[in-house]
Symmetry: C2
Subunit: 413 residues, 2 copies
């Protein structure tokens, strides 16, 4: 049982929009042991849609197509699919009533007439009623293959996958080949150094267990993938190799499951019953935003002070005017006082502080763009470090976030 995902839209092809739907769908199909073997993004054109369906049907058993189901004229998926299946569109009164109810519930009296077209569905399809939007999904099952047609708006697609498509796939199309994925996350070690350190363990892997390196900024995620029919033996053996890797590079391992670095930190702080605050200049609240994106962060996270101006550094965090004059805003003495100020103001056990020149402007000869100072302060000590990143604004900010979290992780240990 294999799957293929087709996303439709010129906004994908011209790069205006990043396709996040495919990854989400792939993770959820993966959980049913239906591996995705191919993802394609194509234009809102009839011939492209029909060609993609033809090629996908040759390769895969489950085909999920998103996009082009909206009420506007640039949405041609339905007519193209009808053509592919040699069927027609028919008016469905239940869908129309459903769409009208959506508008009423949103407190709007008049449904724009354009939405009447939403009630036109493929004659050979099961309607997937959409409770969170006006475009219904549709599913077709033919010759043992399953096709779903879903809107491209992410939360509508997710609603239909979770409530309509996945339950049906779980019932009928589940694969009996077991795929086991297990992850570990390392920080502070590059991909090739990591590969060198664990080369002998990788050499010993049997052919049905593979190891993949997924480098991201400042971290490398490792994924073991094993495939077979004896679920228990496969899981045990894979975990044994994984434990060898963990043991070998344990100073760098922050997570042995599929959690993100932020999730690990939130859970660790919660378990130890300690609290965190941040004092952010160049990261502008990104550390705080990433920590608080984790459900349950409100127990361990007390707050953040984003202090862009010198005045705010003094007023909010009590940084001394002398420190700013003598060393400048981007300096280890300043971030030390920022971190200690955040611990005092928010009454927390730990704090991270950042100050740097993210770019593109603001660099000087002695402090070029990419110069970043970070402090982490705990109960018994405050550590500071200066970094020299050499990237654009967005990546300099992201590198600072990861470096700050890594310093926090190290002081916690």
């Amino acid at each position: 049982m294999k799957a293929e995902i087709i996303t439709i839209g010129d906004e994908l092809l011209n790069g205006q929009v990043v396709d996040t739907n495919s990854a989400w769908i792939a993770r959820h199909l993966g959980a049913l042991h239906i591996p995705v073997i191919h993802m394609t993004s194509i234009s809102d054109k009839r011939h492209a849609i029909k060609q993609a369906l033809r090629q996908a049907e040759e390769r895969a058993d489950v085909i999920i197509m998103t996009g082009g189901l909206g009420p506007t004229r640039d949405d041609v998926t339905k007519v193209s699919v009808a053509d592919y299946f040699g069927t027609t569109l028919v008016h469905n009164e239940a869908v129309l009533r459903h769409v009208e109810a959506i508008f009423r519930r949103a407190g709007r009296k008049n449904m724009p007439a354009i939405n009447i077209g939403q009630a036109e569905v493929l004659a050979n399809a099961t309607v997937l009623f959409n409770d969170v939007g006006t475009a219904p999904g549709m599913a077709i099952e033919r010759d043992g293959k399953y096709f779903a047609f879903l809107p491209g708006v992410p939360f509508e697609m997710k609603f239909l996958m979770e409530n309509r498509v996945l339950p049906r796939l779980r019932e009928v199309y589940k694969s009996d080949v077991f795929i086991y994925n297990t992850y570990l996350l390392t920080v502070g070690i590059g991909e090739s150094h990591l590969a060198e350190q664990i080369g002998d363990i990788e050499d010993a892997l049997p052919p049905y267990i593979t190891l993949a390196y997924l480098p991201k900024i400042g971290m490398v995620r490792l994924r073991f993938t094993a495939g077979g029919t004896d679920m228990e033996a496969l899981t045990t053996l894979t975990n044994r190799f994984k434990e060898q890797v963990v043991e070998r590079v344990k100073d760098h391992v922050v997570s042995v499951d599929n959690r993100s670095f932020e999730e690990v930190l939130v859970h660790t702080f919660t378990r130890k019953d300690v609290t965190l605050s941040t004092a952010e200049s160049c990261t502008g609240g990104s550390i705080s935003a990433q920590i608080t994106a984790v459900p349950g962060a409100s127990g361990m996270f007390q707050g953040a002070a984003v202090v862009y101006s010198d005045q705010a550094k003094m007023d909010v965090l009590g940084v001394l005017p002398d420190t700013l004059t003598q060393y400048g805003a981007v300096s280890e003495p300043t971030v030390k006082e920022m971190a200690e100020g955040a611990r005092r103001v928010f009454g927390t056990d730990y704090a991270i502080a950042t100050s740097g020149i993210a770019g593109p402007g603001g660099g000087t000869e002695t402090k070029p763009v990419g110069t970043v100072c970070i402090a982490v302060s705990g109960k018994s000590e405050t550590r500071t470090q200066t970094f020299h990143f050499k990237n654009d604004r967005a990546i300099n900010i992201e590198r600072t976030v990861i470096a700050g979290l890594t310093m926090l992780w190290n002081i916690l240990k």
Copy 2:
């Protein structure tokens, strides 16, 4: 002249990593008027790589492939491509010296031996020297078609595109068909209402100008795309239609170019010489992080107070204990005091404040998950509003950010 993008990696197919490379590449090819007609993500397998190259070569003139060039064993792109072109891999001494220099510059004495393999390149390719990583790119030009093979790590790919691939394409493969894209961004109006209001303008478009609706959370971007050979006439006519749309829905238009909402706000604040701060509870610093991601934000943005706890709301922003007791943290009186407190603490002309229950936990009968209060405070007034979002944590946070920025935009006008 058409392009196709192929991204390689099981981490893409299983959904562990979202492919952001393709959108970036597409935007940059689009700027050279080389439209992308197809994007594919495939597995790190020889047959998948060769099949994708074959299909892409049939459809496109410029083929960009990323991923699978790393030093580890799961990287099989080079051997597969060599096989496709009927060529071999040869050791390139200049590449080896380049890779060694990268390690020296990073301050590491020993280059792991695994990296020697990085110096193996396709015998028929031009090496694209990689200054920011250890995997070189390669380009092959054959029968009027251009193939580039690039690492999958985003900043390495971007370096090679900007410094090696795009200059060559600009020189040789630039198309003489002119494609003109122009955008406008609306907030506070749904896709179908927008379509209804501008239906007659859309009807009048000639066949060579298309209008696309790109809905995102809380906003809709419109894109006019025109194609032809007379650049000036095409641009003038398209802009005339665009101006009609702007005039029709002007209360909702925040941007008439391709800038994001945050960029527009930063530029507007800068032009008016006014300043902003934020006081964030449920958004956890996301508003601040999105504003400060814009280059030049440091002039108009003074700071943010992320106040997750009641104590921090009182200590940092001066919210009155009585207000919290009487109305609760998620209430219009509380966010009003938070916004006014932020203006006072950071000395700014404007402030946004948020407080809400993002979920999944924390909801009550009277204030269920998704209840959010927002205040915007300006020189002469503070406005507050309560929202009832009905999504998961990440989307509730994002909706709050957009609603806050929209309220700010309205008070600015």
